[in-house]
Symmetry: C2
Subunit: 339 residues, 2 copies
């Protein structure tokens, strides 16, 4: 089969890789309908994380081709969506809604789903079948559910977005935009998106943003305070992963409010005294996307949300390198790869 | 009147200070029945915070002597308890339960309640009258409610201690011990106290600890993991304020669990990547003691809890300097000063 390999920073190739095989009786093999490039894939692409001939990709939708002898909940022919963490969905941590920390978890990025086929460990716990074969126009949205939508949703839940709440979103990338959508679906009254890019501002408004703030860092914080009677937002989503973004999120939140952070932290150190004085709740990490998949798939199936709009470039898998370059150069927010 | 002044680190004196006066119509003047020395008073005493002829003290119980023209809820003769933050208890932040961040808050430490009399700003919002004049044996417990009990209670609430939960408590000082008591009152199933001191271990057990762990840092984390099937505690209270204590708390918590931190942070920096991977909830800061005072006073009045046991040395105000020395040298956990 063909699959993406990152040889070194900036060098992405699509090449022949060995077909995956069932290894454990709980595995399934899927044939991918689509995959995509994640903002986190740009860290090694840009040399900010080490990389050496690494298989890439952790997002996936597709059709089950083969199952191990112990798989019960999906069968060949099912169209399925899964998360970037494979999880058993039965351990104590999974039952508490934290499948990204399942005691048996497997990181799909080590398997590499930017490929024609993929082995999915713990298939019963990981994969969720759609109600039927999806129409083609639903594929991008189902693809979004596999990571960015589920991650934005978790961020909004962690930030306790809901009725009567003012939610601010730091980061106008795919996850931040999905955070806007999630906050709206969760009933937030007001949604402030930080963004300086006209196209992303437009998408943020379409997904539910009521206010746009172009200022960053402490100037951005000051604007949020102005918009909230001097108090700060009830709920703030941090979807970048830098020191500036984290402090912008903490300082934009009112005392007793909630920060939900999902940006993969790079060189972030939160000063204890500032956190102490801020009085906010801070929660985040890798999103337990599996927890939200059944609900998100249903919303998509019923055409109540259209998160697939976050993909602004679609390429065949064979042109993955062009997709990485487009995201790296910010010509695309999020790239869908089709098979 | 007499009151405590810290001239410089290590130099505490009781001297004549001017009697407080009503300044705002919302003020009250109280005659203190007791006050006490806080663990946080040791930071300047030890030179870890700057200090120069500072009036000291922020904990207080006593009898209302005089009220401003706008005070409605307390009257001369009432026995009252208040928090270390004066708060209006009516603003949006107070109504959300975060009175320590009241938009009109006044830090009582700037007024200095280690004294015979004290001016209490925002008396209606700040002071809570007891059901009647308390018996003498209730004074230490009511005194504890003013800060350490309320702070430990907030930490336990922030850590979401409750039925079915295993709670670990980092710090065996007065606040940590109150956290143990609070966790028990909130219904925690199992309470693990970190402590190396036999006397504090005994008090922790009396307040509700079911397990004692003597190891610290990562060795302590490993013991908590052993005691919790490898997962970590559901809820962890951090009541120290150092880097080691904060990381011990975060690492002792299972993914999806809650850390409640109330140790005043000194040179703490939380690595973003570790917090991201831990998947815990982190919440803390100055406790909104006022929120809990009515409930805590009732528990004390009904003799359901006896937090006053945390005071292991009682001295007259005139011997405050000896009290500071005893706490500094760890000969006392918490010193009550009587008037």
């Amino acid at each position: 089969m063909r699959g993406v390999v990152m040889y070194e920073p900036g060098d992405v190739r699509v090449e022949e890789r060995e077909d995956p095989q069932i290894i454990e009786p709980t595995d399934a093999i899927i044939r991918l309908t689509a995959t995509c490039i994640c903002g986190s894939d740009l860290w090694p692409y840009r040399g900010a994380e080490p990389v050496d001939h690494q298989v890439m990709g952790h997002e996936y939708v597709g059709v089950v081709e083969q199952i191990g002898s112990e798989v019960r909940t999906v069968k060949p022919g099912d169209f399925v969506v899964g998360s970037f963490w494979a999880s058993d969905n039965t351990c104590e941590i999974c039952r508490a809604g934290y499948q990204a920390y399942c005691v048996h978890r497997v990181l799909m990025g080590t398997i590499g789903t930017q490929s024609e086929l993929a082995r999915i460990p713990l298939a019963d716990g990981t994969l969720v079948a759609t109600p039927g074969q999806p129409d083609a126009d639903l594929i991008p949205s189902l693809m979004a559910a596999s990571d960015v939508l589920g991650t934005g949703w978790f961020a909004a839940v962690a930030a306790e977005a809901g009725p009567g709440r003012t939610v601010a979103v730091v980061g106008d990338g795919a996850v931040g935009l999905m955070g806007v959508l999630a906050a709206r679906e969760l009933g937030a009254e007001r949604i402030i998106a930080f963004s300086r890019h006209a196209d992303r501002q437009a998408l943020a408004r379409e997904f539910g943003a009521t206010d746009i703030v172009e200022e960053r860092a402490e100037a951005g914080v000051a604007r949020v305070k102005e918009l909230t009677g001097g108090l700060g937002a009830h709920s703030v989503i941090e979807a970048v992963g830098t020191q500036e973004a984290m402090m912008q999120a903490i300082h934009s939140t009112r005392p007793g409010g909630h920060v939900g952070f999902v940006g993969v932290s790079h060189d972030v150190a939160i000063p204890g005294d500032e956190l102490f004085m801020a009085g906010v709740h801070l929660h985040g990490g890798p999103a337990p996307v599996r927890e939200y998949l059944p609900h998100l798939i249903q919303l998509i199936w019923d055409r109540k949300i259209n998160p697939g709009k976050v993909f602004d470039l679609t390429l065949p898998l064979s042109e993955a390198a062009a997709g990485y370059a487009a995201m790296d150069e910010r010509r695309a927010t999020k790239v869908l790869l089709t098979l």
